[in-house]
């Protein structure tokens, strides 16, 4: 693997705030055949946004589901918030997962529940009073600029709106880690930019560490070359040649991690697959 920055370097007695939020070490998984992921190692530092690139079907979504224990690896170690989760029973994982937020490929909204109940799902399970739920749901929906959908059902929303509601659902408990699984997949360019703008806004406003899976280079580059301007309430480009230092890249190919580094290092990479992917 071309390891441009040493994200998984061992640290001596790390302070709680600098310890990696997620750390993979030698993780492999297979489903009735050759390994989908083979000996994967990387980490996510606090405040860091990692963009996971790779062609379709390479195992990006599988990797994301390993991060919060929705899938279990055949071998290797996965640390989430400092807890080893590779072989932890499901019951113990549930409270740990409430500290993460996940946005699924198609949104995965509960179609029998209204937008309000979808966004408030965790709060309802925790028996939070209704008036607090309503207030927090409206705040989360306002963040994704969909407050007017409060009482609607997912079936009456467009694909882009469903993703935005899914982002609101992932954000409502202010998670310590966000996982985005191809949030712009299958969307038109305008809607994709709206979603990326929301992710940039989340990154720059809340500074939540995140992993974003995508096979769209333009989304990845936009994320790295833009910042959210609170005054204008929109995404603006960084000055020419500058990139967000906290946004870095990973690339998967044939089950292996072939790149781990910054945008500049990605663009200078000599790996033939990386070059082919970029071109």
């Amino acid at each position: 693997m071309e390891n441009a920055t040493d994200h998984s370097a061992p640290q001596s007695a790390p302070a709680a705030s600098t310890a990696p939020v997620v750390a993979f070490s030698g993780v492999s998984i297979a489903f009735d055949g050759p390994p989908v992921l083979d000996e994967i190692s990387f980490s996510v530092a606090p405040g860091e946004t990692r963009v996971l690139l790779g062609p379709a079907g390479v195992g990006k979504s599988v990797l994301l589901k390993l991060v919060n224990g929705l899938l279990r690896p055949d071998q290797g170690s996965i640390q989430l918030f400092g807890h080893e989760i590779a072989r932890t029973p499901e019951e113990w994982l549930l409270p740990l997962r409430t500290r993460t937020g996940m946005v699924f490929q198609e949104g995965a909204l509960f179609d029998s529940l209204s937008v309000r109940d979808n966004v408030a799902y965790q709060l309802i399970q925790e028996r939070v009073p209704d008036e607090i739920i309503d207030r927090r749901v409206r705040k989360a929906l306002r963040f994704v600029e969909l407050e007017e959908t409060f009482a609607l059902f997912p079936s009456s929303l467009s694909g882009g709106m469903r993703r935005r509601v899914a982002i609101a659902r992932a954000l409502i408990r202010q998670p310590e880690l966000l996982l985005y699984d191809s949030p712009t997949g299958g969307l038109d360019p305008v809607t994709s930019t709206t979603i990326i703008e929301l992710i940039v806004k989340e990154r720059d406003v809340y500074k939540t560490p995140s992993i974003l899976v995508t096979h769209r280079l333009q989304d990845a580059f936009t994320l790295c070359t833009h910042r959210f301007d609170a005054a204008q309430n929109c995404m603006v480009p960084l000055p020419q040649g500058q990139t967000d230092p906290q946004t870095t890249f990973l690339m998967l190919n044939e089950g292996r991690m072939i790149f781990d580094g910054s945008l500049h290092q990605l663009l200078r990479s000599q790996d033939p697959f990386v070059r082919e992917f970029l071109e």
Binding site: L70, R97, F104, E106, L109, Q122
Partner: protein, 262 residues
């Protein structure tokens, strides 16, 4: 879709069957354990009770009524040959309460609810809603499976009583209006022939059948794969397996109870 269907080898089929039985045993064990541990989702239990109990009442009522009627028609014709047509009430009530009420209700509810559970949970699996629920820190086994099992057991118990009552009523209607027999005689024979073991036998069975319907429906729903086609496959498997299992378990329970109450 492939133009030709692949023929599976007997070895693979046997392996798959053993694997399914193993998976179901683990699933049923987990579901059973969850029945006695909090959190219990009472709202979901009530909602499922409404869907299973109230929703199935009309089909159970009608099928019970007409089965009782058919029993009366068939038995009266045979019993008349021995001059024992007065025994029709006894025959109908014992058959309905000990056997047919529970089995018929089980099969009817299986057709209606095992299929709906499998398709509902299957659709949730293929649209990643189950994964989303897990990602939100909620255990789908407790949130979706346990309330369905509780509701199915409780509702099947009451639906069986409804089927028994309407079966006896249906037999009475046939006896009075078609066979022109005395209604009082029919109902008094139906009532007097009943013994405590008959009632126990008839009301223990739905507890097992309710568990089978819900656990099989949820099991096939939760292991759905292969998109919308997979949902259809799970639905068929749930109905077929639960119906066959109900009749098989009925045989075992009948044998056991006859030995117990002999």
């Amino acid at each position: 879709m492939t133009p030709t269907m692949a023929i599976k080898s007997p070895e693979n089929t046997a392996k798959q069957l053993v694997l399914t039985v193993q998976d179901y045993s683990l699933f049923a064990w987990r579901a059973m354990g969850n029945l006695f541990r909090p959190p219990l989702y009472w709202t979901d239990f009530l909602q499922q009770s409404d869907i299973i109990g109230v929703g199935s009442a009309s089909i159970v009522l009608l099928s019970g009524f007409f089965t009782g009627g058919v029993l009366a028609l068939q038995s009266a014709a045979t019993l008349a040959q021995f001059g024992a047509i007065a025994m029709t009430g006894r025959f109908v009530s014992l058959t309905m309460i000990r056997e047919l009420g529970a089995v018929l209700t089980g099969v009817m509810v299986s057709g209606r609810n095992a299929s709906s559970m499998a398709s509902e949970l299957g659709s949730m699996v293929v649209t990643e809603q189950i994964d989303a629920m897990r990602a939100l820190g909620v255990d789908p086994m407790r949130k979706l499976v346990t309330p369905r099992i509780y509701a199915c057991i409780a509702m099947l118990f009451f639906l069986t009583i409804v089927a028994d009552a309407f079966g006896i009523l249906g037999g009475g209607a046939v006896q009075v209006f078609l066979n022109h027999q005395n209604g009082t005689q029919y109902f008094s024979m139906a009532w007097e022939s009943l013994r405590f073991p008959d009632i126990v036998q008839g009301l223990v069975k739905p507890i097992f059948f309710g568990y089978i319907i819900a656990s099989i429906g949820c099991f096939y729903g939760m292991r759905t794969s292969g998109g919308t086609q997979g949902v259809g496959r799970s639905t068929i498997q749930a109905v077929v397996t639960s119906s066959v299992l109900i009749i098989f378990v009925d045989f075992l329970l009948t044998r056991l109870m006859l030995a117990l109450f002999a």
